[in-house]
Symmetry: C2
Subunit: 189 residues, 2 copies
């Protein structure tokens, strides 16, 4: 029982975690990943993304027997029929999820047992930008505020360090704060 308790921490198999880190260190080509999404327009602001295969750890991953799907929409005040979270809310979800998973993994690696992690995120925008009414406003959020509540069997300073480390290593936090190149091609037939 002690062995089991020691290996699984915060729902993460730390033995598998350290094994994965060792394997990638031994063969760096295993670190190359490609994630993919397919999106289909349904009507108006309603569209749906599917995620199934990806490439990683040296091979095409076929472990998902079905795709995940996420529906997008807009509320009535933004001309939609509320068929799903809107794209700006989806971006906040991506950021919340990535910071949370990263801090949970960091805590597992550092021997910190977490009991609760919750976050609230707020993003402000003036839609005169994205609606094309004014060039004075950017299209997206001017900024995002994230408030984490983190509880666990460690001193406050240790819990804060785990969140700081998550900011230093989160993939989505990196992308949202620093930006990245996006290439768009268009086929019309």
């Amino acid at each position: 029982m002690t062995a089991v308790t020691e290996t699984i921490r915060n729902g993460v198999d730390t033995e598998q975690m350290f094994g994965t880190l060792d394997a990638i260190t031994a063969d760096p080509s295993l670190g190359a990943f490609q994630f993919r999404v397919s999106n289909e327009w349904i009507a108006g602001a309603h569209n749906r993304s599917s995620m199934q295969r990806f490439y990683g750890a040296g091979q095409e991953d076929t472990s998902r027997s079905e795709p995940f799907t996420i529906d997008a929409g807009e509320p009535a005040v933004l001309l939609g029929h509320d068929t799903g979270a809107n794209p700006a809310e989806a971006l906040l979800h991506a950021l919340a999820a990535c910071l949370t998973t990263t801090l949970v993994y960091v805590a597992a690696a550092r021997g910190v047992r977490l009991t609760a992690v919750e976050s609230t995120l707020q993003g402000d925008m003036d839609v005169r930008g994205c609606l094309g009414l004014s060039d004075e406003f950017r299209n997206g959020f001017t900024g995002i505020r994230v408030s984490f509540t983190v509880k666990g069997d460690a001193p406050e300073e240790k819990l804060r360090e785990v969140v700081e480390r998550a900011q230093q290593r989160s993939a989505v936090y990196d992308m949202v704060t620093n930006g990245l190149p996006v290439a768009v091609e268009v086929l019309t037939a």
Copy 2:
């Protein structure tokens, strides 16, 4: 019948659209929006975001009787139990959804009737960054490729213009390509 056909284009009520644009132009304070997400950690890489209320068009919006929820996860090879699309895939979804809705709205405004919009997105990363194994790699994607297939009753050039305009006005495209400030606060009790 003709009137209905003219007003609803691509599933968008263009009369409501132009009314909204006029209303915001007349009272610019209506353009201020705030979107929000709450996220709760469940176990390991499994966490769940909820989106319900937001502020916009001069008031707190209470039109959603239930929150939308999106679950996050990681596949086995990234130490999870595949409880949902991972955060990097969620970011690709946010980008796909925003570009799609923006181009559908732009087409509706410009009198272009669309028959199909599909997109595939790919993002490449070396996880040696986000796993903390190397500082040579950024944590997030090095770049994203988006391929749109757009069909409708307009010449190819017009369809391409609609996609270009969507890139110029999409909230998430702006955020992902340019980045934005993210402030993180931590509560431990």
